[in-house]
């Protein structure tokens, strides 16, 4: 029996999918590697694609004293970075302006650049802005 383990499994992965010839057997460590790296087997493409989308979603929260132009400024920065707003809610909680945006950042230059731009905008308009991966909130509230 020829073994595919965590040591050599990467050599069998092409374009995010596993290609194995007859005569090879997957050891437990290789299966673990495939799961961790979202490598798909036949028929699992859609699930892997869905996971990739979820990984690109961030939750942006904006908090502070209400003033004109907050939504325009924050949304403007997201648009400038080619982020796509997929959900937006806004309210006044105990006198504090609170806004939550869900943004697909797959078009942006990545998490760090997005955060840098939004933090700068937050300073300019005096609002507290945080950017967090959506997946952690989803893990907390969805099975």
């Amino acid at each position: 029996m020829r073994l595919i383990t965590s040591e050599n499994v990467a050599g069998f992965v092409k374009d995010g999918a596993l290609h194995v010839d007859e005569g090879w057997t997957l050891a437990p460590s290789a299966l673990e590697y495939l799961r961790r790296n979202h490598v798909r087997f036949g028929g699992e493409e859609s699930r892997a694609a869905a996971a990739a989308v979820a990984e690109n979603l961030v939750v942006i929260t904006v908090e502070g004293i209400d003033k004109p132009g907050i939504i325009a400024t924050v949304a403007g920065e997201v648009a400038r970075q080619h982020g796509n707003i997929t959900d937006l809610s806004q309210t006044i909680l105990a006198g504090v302006f609170v806004m939550v945006l869900v943004v697909d950042m797959s078009g942006t230059e990545g998490y760090d650049v997005l955060v840098e731009g939004l933090e700068q905008v937050g300073e300019e308009i005096g609002m507290e802005i945080s950017v967090r991966l959506y997946s952690v909130y989803e893990a907390m509230h969805r099975i």
Binding site: E32, R36, S130, M140, H141
Partner: protein, 451 residues
């Protein structure tokens, strides 16, 4: 559970759990298998190769998720299984190697200077146990443990006897730091191989080459959930609320753990569903018991409150992850929980009540300062009593007892940082204890005829 996209209320609830209620990941612990490491240099190479990116990766994940990761630790294969020979100097070299490599990769504690001696101690086990006081005196980050009993093997009373002496010697060797060495030494019954929490973490048999395990926490989140219930709500409503809350905390822990595991390229181990307090205000298990309706922890009612809490924590957590493990329950370390420490100082909490409480919760007599003149026999007898609770009830129990040289009951001892501070507790001390002197072996308990 709702489906579909998250609502604003759900997102704001999560934000509040972190910002207001101190929700955090208490520890991300990387277990590393040291089999085949023949020299201290081999150990250093193995640990740095596996753990080199641990701090960078966990820092990035904490930023991106907004969930603080308080501690990063390493657990290794029990050194008594790794050491080739039992010479004191070789064992101390291994301890120094662990200490140095922990500092290099940036973790504050490395656990696994350990031996499993529940039935018999090998020569190397014995030498390791005897080396513990000097290993703790010479190193800063090394933690160790000795398993002296299991439900299957019974209690190794010879080892219990010996550990009484080892703890006294550890206290003497680290007397200038209020016996801090004893805070890094856990004596277990039914030790688990995948516990991510220090000081008792080690990478046990069957755990693979390396694994990431996560210890969750959040006593503050649970306390605030209980505060939102109507006053006088019946016990089952409290249990329900705790389950719901711990479910969410556990989901976060599993998510973060799996992400660390993926980025580090090692297997995912377990989520330890524990409520681990710290001395930060609002991060107390005792406070939850007081909210349940015990005026001060240690008074009558404390055991039932803790039993309900512990059970509800496990139920909520077990629903949230199929990778629950480790110790999973509520911790009651006296020095690490400000409300436990103050209840002990005010005389509401005594050692015997703590012992009773350990029968219904995770772990055992943890971080307890004892008078400096407590005898080795008395310490061994306390360990044996605690082990008996563990093996009869099929659960892990442990002792982390600190006889502080020169200290008297009521005096406060401060170990600083996470280890916290505690008053020296009164103990019914005897110079010799017959049951300990007998030594030998307590046979394992019967597991049939359970009706």
């Amino acid at each position: 559970m709702a489906r579909g996209p998250l609502g604003m209320d759900e997102i704001l609830e999560s934000v509040g759990m972190v910002g207001r209620d101190h929700l955090d990941i208490r520890t991300v612990t990387l277990g590393i298998n040291l089999r085949g490491c023949r020299t201290p240099d081999d150990v250093v190479r193995r640990v740095t190769a596996t753990a080199g990116n641990l701090i960078g990766i966990t820092d990035a994940i904490a930023t991106e998720t907004g969930i603080p990761i308080v501690n990063r630790r390493i657990a290794v294969t029990p050194i008594a299984w790794v050491a080739e020979r039992g010479e004191r100097e070789l064992l101390l070299d291994l301890a120094r190697a662990l200490d140095g490599t922990a500092a290099e990769v940036g973790v504050d504690f490395i656990g696994g200077f350990s031996a499993m001696v529940e039935k018999h101690a090998s020569r190397i086990d014995e030498e390791l146990m005897a080396a513990l006081p000097y290993a703790f005196a010479e190193t800063e980050r090394v933690c160790g443990s000795v398993n002296i009993a299991t439900t299957g093997a019974g209690i190794n009373m010879d080892a219990v006897n010996f550990m009484g002496e080892v703890i006294k010697e550890t206290a003497a060797q680290t007397a200038d730091q209020s016996a801090i060495g004893c805070a890094k030494l856990v004596v277990f019954a039914n030790a688990v191989p995948d516990n991510p929490f220090m000081a008792g973490a080690f990478h046990g048999f069957g755990e693979g080459d390396a694994a990431i395990s996560v210890g969750i926490s959040g006593p503050g989140v649970v306390a605030n959930a209980l505060r939102r219930l109507p006053p006088g709500a019946p016990m089952q409503d409290l249990a329900e609320e705790i389950k719901r809350t711990v479910f969410k905390i556990t989901r976060v822990g599993e998510h973060v753990g799996r992400e660390v595991s993926r980025r580090l390229g090692v297997a995912f181990g377990v989520v330890d569903i524990s409520l681990a307090p710290t001395s930060t205000p609002g991060d107390s298990v005792a406070e939850i018991l007081e909210l349940i309706g015990v005026e001060r922890v240690g008074l009558p009612g404390s055991t039932v409150a803790l039993a309900m809490l512990n059970d509800a924590v496990k139920k909520g957590g077990a629903m949230a992850t199929s990778r629950a493990g480790g110790l999973s329950g509520a911790f009651i370390p006296v020095s690490e929980d400000a409300n436990f420490a103050s209840a002990a100082a005010d005389g509401h909490l005594v050692l015997e009540k703590l012992e009773a409480m350990t029968a219904v919760c995770s772990v055992g007599l943890d971080m307890i300062a004892l008078p400096g003149d407590t005898s080795a026999h008395t310490i061994a007898a306390i360990i044996a009593d605690e082990a008996a609770i563990g093996i009869i009830n099929n659960k892990t129990t442990a002792c982390r007892l600190v006889p502080v040289p020169g200290a008297v009951p009521g005096e406060w001892v401060d170990w600083g940082g996470l280890l916290g501070r505690a008053p020296v507790m009164d103990v019914r001390n005897r110079p010799t204890v017959g049951v300990v002197q007998r030594a030998g072996h307590m046979p394992p308990p019967l597991r049939a005829l359970g009706n």
